[in-house]
Amino acid sequence: MARSSARILIIGAGPAGLRAAEMLAEAGCSPTLIDEAPRIGGQIYRQPPRVPGFTRTAAELYGAAAERARDLFVTFDRIRNRIDYRPSSLVYDLIDNRVIVASEGKSEEVPFDALILATGAMDRIVPAPGWTLPGVYTVGAAQIALKHQGATIGKRVAFVGIGPLMFLAAHQYAKAGVAPVAVVVPSRFRSFAAAGLRLLQMPREFSLGLHWLLDLKRRGVPILFGHRLAQVLGEETVTGITVRRRGAERAIVCDAVAIGYGLQSETQLADLTGIRFAFDPARRQWLPESDPLGRATGRKDVYLAGDGAGMLGADAAEARGRLAAHALMTDLDISHVTYRPKADLETIARATQLQASLRAAFDLPADFFAAVSDETILCRCEQVPAGELRAIAGLMGAREMNRAKSYSRIGMGRCQGRMCGHAAAEILADKLGVSLDSVGRLRGQPPIKPVSVGTVAERKA
């Protein structure tokens, strides 16, 4: 078999998927690159629509990462005609060696000999009373509104959560003239500062983070370490928040809230491939397992790249995209340019170290999930409060997430538990007094995102 004729499928056109596509294209392969978005870049390098009037430059859009973004876009333009790129296409089902893709109201089956999953990540959410009110968004949403549409989620925005992305988004809002009313961080300043010092070994990241922080300070944005979100206030829409520190509460007036407790991998498609998952105690998530080059455990034809295989950030995603393509071509005996994985493996090692430092910097209080009140809505799709999950915990086999879902409806709605699954697992494990890994994870089911009956029924000729 002429291996370069192998049907190679890449899902996701963010930094990982694009670098994989580049490497394959350079070797003479013609991979199919399927992406749900209309333009490449993923969430991190999300581009405004191709419409007159969107005039911001890469520097304005992506700040310190502008050069990387530009390089990705240029790379894509170079390989565009050598790959089968399918934007605005949703892979909603995967079985054996084929995926089902929805676009323009029709479904199409796409078979593959090898698959690279580069499905990315999204915000991790911890519910608080009122978090389902209109006007509460994820930190990612706050950033995308600005990057993609030139809009902010409100006039007076409070940022709540942890992680560098939140500080970056708050900083971007401030620069856009919408200075946040507060940045609320549940982590203690002491651990933040201590871990921050470890970051001195990474001057680029350190100075970037410091710059965001100082800029917010300079603009008078209160940064409240050691504060938890007690409640989002409002009847029909957000009117403010209350935050709590050591039992003392204070109210902050705002018209929008951005919440995000770091990022979590998007793993539904990986689940449908049947590859093995392993519990990552550091990230506190079940993740698809792979070797250092991205070869998935349990299937010879599946490769993992980017944040979908564990959050490591955009630079590491590019490295992992190349590594996965390299592993794939090595396995299929496709000759390709001399590529030494060393540099990319170093990038990953560095990103791994950075993530570890960030986790130490943004530690969550031990009782963070235990403190979610029973009345707090946990599953926003099905409007199930946390108390309902606690009430069935342990009953008739509900020591495991899928049972708990069956009894409580948690994770049974449109998003399939993307928003509540992690918090639900934490709350269930806490209630049962067991380790997080022992309650398992919600199984992915097709369609991994909603797709209309008509789209399922109609097949492309």
Binding site: S406, P446, P447
Partner: protein
């Protein structure tokens, strides 16, 4: 028997689905010491994962008496399991879209009406008037207003919970790999070598029950059935009756929450039938038929799918009754994907068979002997304590052979599929 101590009970029940749990519940309530053995978790397979139709409409006439008894019990669910299981008598509407099938509908209407089942005959115009969301495709339908639907993911586990509350012992994760009969006692051994013994054994093992019957010299070939159901986002509640199509392998209902559930075709299972997964082809087929009959559904998003595993008999009718070979052995399995309604009545009937030596419900058409081609056994129900001509020795032999039994698998699937008249089968749940 074993070096380890056997757990002793009055009755052993294999299988923690509704049938097994309802049996354990009834026996426990009458003061019997019952141990129920479940290979996985109680109420999570076909009983907890099924379409949720509570349907007498369109039943094989042999199942109708027990179905009608069961239906009455659904009204009493709170006294059985402590809540109504979200059961609502919204009706079951069976439709035909071609004249050939119409004969089947007609025959059922006549025969079932005679047996006292309340049915309403609806011609196309009446269908359109009553159910404006329906397309013009259905020619006519039969409505059983007394039928309805319930929530299986709650009802299945609730029966297990109720049985436990009534004093039955439920042992989960006990996969029984061997069974034999000795000294008027049924002996079972689990995968982890635990043993269990009792003078009475009830086989409610669902897709695996045919194999267990085989240990006692009356094997029944069961074909695994893997119904696949698509679930839409919740919509305003508009589709009251549960829909089924005569012979057409399509069914649809709207839950109280508003989700529309529909299915056509099957998913697939691993060779041991333990895990199943949906197939894109079945999703597509279901979607096409759904739009064909309810055009507005084209716009509605599907948000998830699921599959379950059940066991089908070759004639599409379940087995409920005493063993023909062993005194004290009772079977209740082969529900062909429509055992959800029957569960409560199966528990009551099997309990009567065990404790009273007979039941007022006509189960003559459900006897296991119909799957025994060469031997015509008498259908006289045996009391539990009755000695039988089958001896210990032969039973032990069966026990010894049991490890060679292959699980319900693809080959058997094929054999049985060949032997059945697909056109006659009614897959509606």
């Amino acid at each position: 028997m074993s070096a380890r101590m056997s757990l002793k009970s009055d009755v052993l029940v294999i299988g923690g689905g509704i049938a097994g749990c309802a049996t354990a519940l009834q026996l426990a309530r009458r003061g019997w010491k019952v141990t129920l053995l479940e290979r996985d978790q109680a109420g999570v397979r076909a009983s907890g994962v099924n379409f949720g139709g509570v349907r007498q409409n369109g039943r094989d006439l042999r199942e109708l008496p027990i179905a009608m008894r069961a239906r009455a019990m659904w009204d009493e669910l709170p006294s059985l399991i402590g809540f109504d299981g979200e059961f609502r008598a919204t009706g079951n509407l069976r439709l035909v879209s071609d004249e050939d099938r119409a004969v089947q509908l007609d025959n059922f209407f006549t025969a079932a009406t005679k047996q006292g089942l309340g049915l309403v005959w609806l011609e196309r115009a009446e269908l359109r008037a009553r159910y404006p969301w329906l397309s013009g495709k259905p020619l006519r339908g039969v409505l059983c207003p007394n039928d309805g639907h319930a929530n299986p993911r709650l009802v299945g586990p609730a029966f297990a919970f109720a049985a436990q509350e009534s004093g039955a012992t439920i042992i989960e994760h006990a996969e029984i790999t061997e069974g034999w009969y000795a000294n008027a006692t049924f002996q079972l051994r689990a995968l982890d070598n635990r043993t269990f013994a009792a003078p009475v054994l009830v086989n409610c093992a669902g897709a695996w029950a045919g194999k267990i019957a085989g240990w006692f010299d009356e094997p029944v070939t069961l074909v695994p059935e893997i119904p696949q159901v698509q679930v839409t986002e919740p919509l305003p509640y508009r589709i009251e009756p549960v829909l089924g199509f005569v012979g057409g392998d399509f069914y649809l209902r709207q839950t109280l929450r508003g989700n529309i559930l529909f299915g056509s075709g099957q998913g697939r299972a691993t060779a041991d039938a333990l895990r199943s997964q949906p197939l894109p082809e079945s999703m597509k087929r279901g979607a096409q038929i759904a739009i064909d009959f309810i055009p507005d559904l084209a716009h509605v998003p599907i948000i998830r799918t699921w599959t379950g595993v059940d066991g089908d008999t070759s004639d599409g009718v379940c087995v409920v009754g005493p063993s023909e070979t062993h005194p004290g052995l009772f079977h209740a399995f082969g529900f062909n994907g429509h055992g959800f309604l029957l569960g409560p009545a199966v528990g009551a009937v099997v309990t009567e068979l065990i404790l009273d030596g007979g039941t007022s419900t006509d189960i003559s058409g459900l006897a296991i002997d119909r799957f025994r081609p060469r031997r015509k056994a008498s259908a006289a129900p045996a009391r539990a304590q009755h000695p039988d001509e089958e001896t210990e020795a032969s039973a032990e032999e069966n026990g010894a052979q049991s490890t060679d039994h292959c699980p319900v698998g693809v080959d058997q699937h094929k054999q049985a599929a060949d032997s059945q008249d697909a056109a006659e089968r009614d897959q509606d749940r």
